[in-house]
Amino acid sequence: MLVLDRVGKIYPNGVNALERFSAEINLGEIVAIIGGSGCGKSTLLRTVAGLDRATSGTVTLDNISIVAPHAKIGIIFQEPRLLPWLSVADNIGFGLSDLPAAARREKVARALARVGLSDKANAWPRELSGGQAQRVAIARALVPQPEVLLLDEPFSALDAFTRRDLQDHLLDLWADTRPTLVLVTHDVDEAVVLADRALVMRPRPGRLFEEIRINLARPRDRNSPLFDSFKRRVLTALDRSLDRNVPDREAKSNAGEAMWW
C-alpha cells in the first residue's frame, strides 16, 4: 500500500506548493489526481517518485519510507524522455542492466510486442511519432515490473485520437500485472476513463479538495450516461475547487445564513 501522510512541500523560493496531503492507495488501484494548474499535482507526483523531497510529512510504500527513487516505483513523464543515443529496444531495456543479456533481450522483445512496436526495435527515438515514443516510454517504465507506476500528464502532448488509443492501451497493459497507477492529469475525461478514484486538488497552496469514487465497470464506455454523470461530478468538484460554481456556493451560503438566523 502506498501511504501519503500529511505531505507538504515548500520550495526554497517560499512557494507553498503542497500542504498536508494525505491519501492511502491500495495495490492495483488506479488513482487520478486532478486539479487546475498550480495545485501541486506534479509536485506531489515527484515527491512520491523520490525525485523531490517533501518538506513535511512522509511517503511510504509497504512501510518503506520513500526519500529517493525506488525500484518498486516507476514514472512516466509528460514527454517520452527517451535517450536519443539508444535504439528503441535499448531504451526499453534501460532499467534492466542488472539482468543477463539474454533475459534482458527476451523481456524487451516481449514488451515491444506488447506495445505493438516490434518492427521498431532497432529504430532511433527520433524516428518515432509522438504516440509511438510515449508507448516506448510506457514500456520502459513497465518492464522492470514496478509495484507503483506514476504518470505525470502522460498523454497531454498527444492529439485526441492518439490519446484515447493510449489510454485504452495503458489499461490493457495495466491488466497484465495490475500495478498501482497514480495518474496526474488535467483532463476530466482521462480521469474518468482510467481511475477507480479521482482526487480533486485545489490550488494555492495545493491541497486535497475532494475524493470521488468512480464505480464504473471496465471496459468503460465513453458515451454511456453513467460515464457522463461521473464526468459531471468531477467537473463540478473541479469548479468548486476553483471557487467557480456559483449556484452551489449560494446553496451553501444560504444554508449557512439560515443557521445563522
Binding site: P69, H70, E79, R81, W124, R126
Partner: protein, 283 residues
C-alpha cells in the same frame, strides 16, 4: 499567416525538385561544382605561364608546385618534415585534449570547481596564445618542448570550453530519467552524461585540432630545423615560392585528413544523431 503558408509551400517544393534529379548525378555534381573554380584558375594560370605571358617566378604554376613536392618526396626531405610537424601536432593535441577534457569535465560537473577554476582559465584565455612564446622558450628551451607546449595551449581552450559547456547543458530531464532508474554517480556519467556530451565534444576536438595546426606553424616559425613551417620560412629566405606553396598545399591536405579522421572515428558513436541528416541527404 500568408507568410507561413508560403514558407511551407517552398519547403515542400524543394525536396520534390531534389528528388526529381537522379541521385547519382547529384552526388557527384555538387562537389564537382565546388572544384570548378579552383581547377579553372589553376588551369588558366598554367596556360598563361606556359604561353609565356608571365614568367611565373613569384606565383609558380601548378605543375611547378607539384614538381617541387615530388622532388622533396624523392629526396626523403618531405617525409622528414611531415613527420616532424605531425608528431608536434599530435603531442600538443594529445596534451591539450587531456588537460582540456579533465578540467572541462571537473568544471562542468562540479559547480564549486567551476567557481574556483573558470575565472582564471577565462582570464588566461584572453591572452593571445602567441604571447606565451618568449616565456615558453625561456622556460622550456628552443627545441621540441616549447613548441609542443604552445600547441597544447592552443588546443586546450576550445576543448575545455566545449566539454564544460556540453556538460552544463545536458538536459535535466534526461538526467532525471537516470535518477528514476537509480543510476549511481559513475553509471550516470557512463550511461547518460558521456553519450549526451559526445556530439559537442567531437566538435570541440575538431576546433582544437584546427587550432593545433595553426599553432604548429607559429611554433615552427620560432626556430626549427625541420617541419613544414620550416619549409615555409626556408622558402621565404631563399626565394622559393614553389616550396612555400608546396608546404601550404601539404598543410591543407594534412589538416583536412586529420579532421576527417576524427569525424569518421566518432561516426559510429554518433549514428543516432546523424541518422536524420543522412536520410534526408540521401533521399
Amino acid at each position: 499567416m500568408a507568410m507561413t503558408v508560403e514558407l511551407s509551400a517552398s519547403a515542400e517544393s524543394e525536396p520534390v525538385a531534389k528528388a526529381a534529379a537522379p541521385g547519382r548525378l547529384r552526388r557527384w555534381t555538387r562537389p564537382a561544382l565546388g572544384l570548378l573554380l579552383p581547377l579553372g584558375l589553376a588551369l588558366a594560370w598554367e596556360l598563361i605561364v606556359g604561353l609565356g605571358y608571365s614568367n611565373g617566378r613569384l606565383v609558380p604554376p601548378p605543375t611547378k608546385i607539384f614538381a617541387t613536392i615530388v622532388d622533396l618526396a624523392r629526396s626523403g626531405e618531405l617525409t622528414r618534415h611531415i613527420v616532424a610537424t605531425l608528431s608536434r601536432v599530435f603531442a600538443g593535441f594529445a596534451l591539450g585534449v587531456v588537460a582540456g577534457t579533465l578540467l572541462g569535465a571537473v568544471a562542468g560537473y562540479w559547480s564549486l570547481a567551476r567557481r574556483l577554476l573558470d575565472p582564471t582559465v577565462q582570464a588566461l584565455r584572453a591572452i593571445p596564445s602567441i604571447a606565451w612564446v618568449p616565456l615558453f622558450i625561456l622556460w622550456l628551451g628552443i627545441f621540441e618542448t616549447s613548441k609542443v607546449a604552445l600547441i597544447a595551449v592552443g588546443v586546450f581552450f576550445p576543448v575545455y570550453l566545449g566539454v564544460m559547456g556540453a556538460i552544463m547543458s545536458v538536459d535535466r530531464k534526461i538526467v532525471e530519467v537516470g535518477r528514476t532508474f537509480r543510476l549511481s554517480g559513475p553509471t550516470m556519467i557512463r550511461r547518460i552524461l558521456l553519450p549526451a556530451v559526445l556530439p559537442a565534444y567531437v566538435v570541440s576536438l575538431r576546433v582544437g585540432l584546427g587550432l593545433g595546426w595553426m599553432f604548429v606553424v607559429a611554433a615552427e616559425f620560432m626556430g626549427a630545423s625541420e617541419g613544414l613551417g620550416y619549409l615555409l620560412i626556408d622558402g621565404q629566405q631563399l626565394g622559393k615560392p614553389a616550396q612555400i606553396l608546396a608546404a601550404i598545399v601539404i598543410f591543407a591536405i594534412l589538416g583536412k585528413t586529420t579532421d576527417w579522421l576524427i569525424e569518421i572515428g566518432f561516426a559510429p558513436l554518433l549514428r543516432w544523431q546523424d541518422a536524420f541528416s543522412r536520410q534526408s541527404g540521401g533521399a
